[in-house]
């Protein structure tokens, strides 16, 4: 009940935040040098052609009028038309967002679980060889550029070992997967398409692995630091002094207390990953949200840039809401 009320309040608070984001992006993208109309016209286009194109996309109107139109569209779910492709932004984004979200959600989930297990393992062996090895490995993984790591993985796991399908696309077209959400794995489950599921999962292995290696280090460090703090705390030592067995200590007195700080950091990592999957998408020909947003920005495709920024902001808002609720569930002292 309390959580429902908290969620409702936070969602209401998100409305002005998103509105602010819309205003700022709307203005910024128009202030930036560059003209979207010039990019779609040929080199021989006349000034009259440009004016006609401008009128077609409503760019000849005064800025406030454009904004009011855009805002009106936003409330009816119309995000405008891409200047580059002439397609509906909503339709393009629906195809693009699913695959990227799937990639990021799976990668962050695996990284969080891995960070929890390894972080606690590492903290319990603090100062020993295993702890040092793990921390160095995590740091190395964190320091590798995604695109390079992705290429190396393709070279070794696909070309060398042949364990995974080729890094071209997200699912084998022969499996006839029908598109529902855009997230292929989810669509395969929803349609009960076994072969498509296997194919999509196979294609996910390398990009997910790349992202996990890159983002697991900060999460693990956080868990390890919290776990060390708990291990040194009076409360934990008191439980140990009362002779409780290792398993009880680990499950009841260490794990939950050590995870208290993880949700906030995981949310940050998640939000960061949404906007920065573009390199991984390029390497694995993922055709995802990151690539689409980047291309929109490069060609000053106003509706695309606006839509992608709003979606990223929305993702941040939602994921931090989830993180706060999880934090409150983990730590009974937090009141939401």
């Amino acid at each position: 009940m309390r959580i429902a009320r908290f969620t409702a309040r936070r969602l209401l608070q998100a409305v002005p935040v998103l509105l602010g984001v819309v205003v700022v992006t709307f203005v910024l993208v128009r202030v930036l040098p560059g003209d979207p109309i010039r990019t779609i016209l040929g080199p021989n286009a006349t000034e009259a052609d440009a004016a006609a194109a401008r009128a077609r996309y409503g760019l000849d109107q005064p800025m406030w009028q454009q904004f009011v139109d855009y805002l009106g569209g936003l409330f009816t779910g119309d995000l405008g038309v891409s200047i580059q492709s002439g397609q509906s932004v909503m339709g393009e984004m629906a195809v693009r967002l699913g695959p990227t979200l799937e990639l990021v959600v799976i990668a962050v989930t695996i990284a969080t679980v891995l960070a929890t297990v390894l972080g606690i393992w590492s903290a319990r062996r603090a100062g020993r060889a295993g702890d040092h090895t793990l921390r160095v490995l995590a740091l190395v993984g964190n320091s590798l550029p995604e695109f390079w790591l992705g290429l190396v993985l393709i070279l070794v796991v696909y070309s060398g070992l042949g364990w995974v399908p080729a890094p071209s696309g997200r699912v084998d077209p022969d499996t006839n997967l029908s598109l529902i959400t855009g997230a292929d794995l989810l669509d395969a489950v929803l349609t009960g398409n076994g072969p498509a599921f296997a194919s999509a999962a196979g294609h996910l292995v390398l990009p997910v692995a790349t992202m996990v290696v890159v983002i697991v280090a900060p999460l693990m460090r956080s868990v390890r630091a919290s776990a060390l703090e708990v291990l040194g705390s009076e409360a934990y030592r008191a439980a140990a002094a009362h002779g409780l067995p290792e398993r009880t200590l680990l499950r009841g007195y260490l794990a939950r207390a050590a995870l208290v700080r993880l949700p906030a950091l995981a949310a940050l990592v998640f939000g960061f990953a949404i906007g920065s999957t573009v390199l991984v998408e390029y390497v694995f020909s993922w055709q995802g949200f990151g690539q689409w947003a980047l291309r929109g920005l490069l060609f000053r495709d106003y509706p695309v840039v606006q839509a992608s920024v709003v979606v990223i902001a929305l993702c941040y808002t939602l994921i931090f809401l989830i993180a706060d609720v999880v934090h409150a569930v983990l730590d009974p002292r937090v009141r939401i």
Partner: protein, 619 residues
């Protein structure tokens, strides 16, 4: 066979000899008190018994537990010994309870591990155990987290955790530090029960000889890692052999110790703990003096009918911390505020400092109302009042030097650097801290030194009002005496008003002019300190006085004892104390009690002055 037999235990950490040859025995059914100042090695003994010495500690000698040496046990034997053999009841129960696990589960973990119960057995046993240590509505409390408990309840839970291990030996490390007098007595009785009824050996560790003496069979006095004296409790209390023991005994603040300035006056009322003789006749003999007019300096702070409600974050409910308190402090006056935990003492302090706004009523500090001021003016006003905190080390920033900390109020007041340095040096000097302390950081200070720094910081800005919030309850008894002396000097100055908050009545008596007794956010009695202590008229004051530990070691009959916990006494109509009061009548439960003048004091009890003879039966 003795349960615990420590022979010539020496512990060294690096080059520091923490324990230098300690011999100690505890038998089943026996309560042994281990007394000494902090840093004396008491906790080191406790930790060696469960094999949890700090890293880098080297121990020699023997710690025989049922004839097996703990120091040489292998990991598996040691794991079995911890909890089932010896279980520690930790100091600071709030810190020692795991914050992310409900207390019921923490107890069932122990029951399952050491008593081999299954989950459902353990659950019902846990509820029973909670009840036996005095936790009300134990079944509901089962699902509580430690931060939802009061200090007294947390200590009870800690005891239940230790006894839930079914240990042969129960070690209690400072089990009553920071608890108020009524709770201290209650908690200590639990340990006596553990020895008498469950046949456990109990090792009770404390710096406070007075509070534990009456339940111990034997006492062991430890100083600087060595035992200076041991023997039966009465022998040590009556004929202490070692000079150190005599120092400890002398440091105990006891109620009959007279007010330094008024020794002649209070000598007449020989024993304030037994107020039976002081009836109406003695009152009328007093020079008729209106309450609280001993000092006639300027008014420093005035609290008028203040109510404070701490709302819960989601509207409904809330905690009514103060319910209509009026209090005036004048320059040159020291007012003592006493009451159990949860009576609203700290709220009153925060109110006077302008840190919270009353939900009803008004506060005037140095002639202005903090609730009407904003920004710069409010900050300037707040500088007129300073606070001395309960936790001396915790209230100093670990990263700043002593000089920095003391200069803080001056910096806030915009005093220039050279002037600041001069005043800091002067105020530190006054606190008996020489120049070498100025560059130290809090971890290099002892508790007593840190509290001197805290007082210096409060004094530096030359405020009109200093509030001492239990300044000595975290300190050793011997240090307490020194700090109280310093505070006595500070409060004796004419130009300033002081408020001294304490649950320890003996300390208040030392130097306060007036005393205010708070109970559940209401003033139940106020008046000149010698009057209230010599002739307490409210049953609550009587009970507080009766609960003060004394060294005679005997349970006196005829003392007033409150029957239940404050949290249990749900506020219905009428007098808030009625559910706990041994004198309550039906009328008490329906009539609101107002403060009325009785002699030189004011009391909120309709039966005050006409209470039955205290030699009568309790309860």
């Amino acid at each position: 066979m003795t349960l615990l037999d420590i022979r010539d235990l020496k512990v060294a950490i690096g080059s520091v000899q923490a324990l230098a040859g300690v011999d100690l025995t505890v038998a089943r059914g026996e309560v042994v008190g281990l007394v000494g100042e902090s840093g004396g090695g008491k906790s080191m003994i406790a930790r060696s018994v469960v094999g949890l010495l700090p890293d880098g500690a080297r121990a020699t000698g023997q710690v025989l537990f049922e004839d097996r040496d703990v120091l040489t046990m292998d990991a598996a034997t040691l794991a079995a010994h911890r909890g089932a053999g010896a279980a520690i009841c930790f100091q600071n129960p709030r810190g020692a309870l795991s914050p992310t696990r409900v207390i019921g589960r923490q107890l069932t973990d122990r029951l399952v591990t050491h008593q081999g119960m299954d989950a459902s057995q353990a659950r019902s046993a846990a509820v029973g155990l909670f009840e036996s240590v005095g936790i009300r509505s134990a079944a509901r409390r089962f699902g509580s987290y430690p931060h939802e408990l009061s200090g007294g309840q947390a200590q009870r839970v800690m005891i239940s955790l230790a006894t839930g291990c079914a240990p042969g030996l129960l070690i209690a490390d400072e089990p009553t530090t920071g608890l108020d007098v009524t709770l201290t007595r209650e908690i200590l009785l639990r340990f006596r029960e553990a020895a008498d009824e469950e046949g456990r050996g109990v090792l009770l560790i404390s710096h406070d000889l007075a509070s534990i003496a009456r339940i111990c069979d034997r006492l062991v006095v430890l100083n600087a890692g060595a035992i200076v004296e041991h023997g039966p409790t009465t022998a040590i209390l009556t004929t202490p052999a070692a000079p150190y023991t005599r120092t400890l005994l002398a440091a105990v603040p006891t109620l009959p110790s007279p007010h330094p300035a008024e020794s002649g006056e209070s000598a007449g009322s020989a024993d304030p703990a037994r107020p039976a003789g002081a009836g109406v006749s003695a009152e009328s003999g007093d020079p008729a003096q209106p309450a609280g007019s001993a000092v006639s300096g300027d008014e420093v702070v005035r609290v008028e009918d203040a109510h404070v409600v701490y709302g819960s974050r989601f509207g409904a409910g809330g905690h009514h911390a103060l319910r209509g308190v009026s209090l005036t402090v004048r320059a040159g006056e020291t007012v003592g505020v006493v009451g159990e935990s949860g009576s609203g003492k700290s709220t009153l302090a925060r109110l006077m400092l302008g840190m919270i706004t009353p939900s009803r009523g008004a506060v005037t500090l140095a002639g202005r109302e903090p609730s009407r001021l904003r920004g710069r003016a409010l900050r300037a006003l707040r500088r007129r009042a300073q606070l001395v905190f309960q936790d001396p080390i915790g209230s100093l920033s670990p990263r700043r030097t002593v000089a920095d900390a003391v200069a803080e109020p001056l910096r806030a007041a915009g005093v220039k650097a050279p002037e600041r340095a001069r005043r800091v040096a002067a105020v530190l000097e006054r606190m008996g801290l020489d120049g070498t302390y100025a560059e130290r950081r809090p971890h290099e200070l002892s508790g007593g030194q840190a509290q001197r720094v805290g007082i210096a910081r409060a004094l530096a800005g030359e405020p009109d009002l200093i509030v001492f919030d239990e300044p000595t309850s975290a300190l050793d008894v011997t240090v307490q005496a020194q700090i109280l002396k310093v505070i006595g000097e500070v409060t004796a100055e004419r130009g300033r008003g002081s408020v001294f908050i304490s649950h320890d009545l003996a300390t208040v008596r030392g130097f306060c002019d007036r005393v205010v007794v708070l109970y559940l956010g209401r003033i139940v009695e106020e008046g000149p300190v010698e009057e209230v202590f010599a002739r307490p008229r409210h049953p609550y004051t009587m009970a507080l006085l009766a609960a003060v530990p004394s060294l005679d070691g005997e349970e006196e009959t005829g003392r007033v004892r409150l029957t239940k916990d404050p949290e249990e006494a749900a506020a219905g109509g009428g007098c808030a104390l009625a559910p706990r009061c041994p004198f309550a009548e039906d009328a008490c439960r329906t009539e609101e009690q107002e403060l009325r003048t009785l002699g030189r004091a004011r009391v909120a009890c309709r039966r005050a002055g006409a209470l039955p003879d205290l030699e009568g039966p309790e309860r």
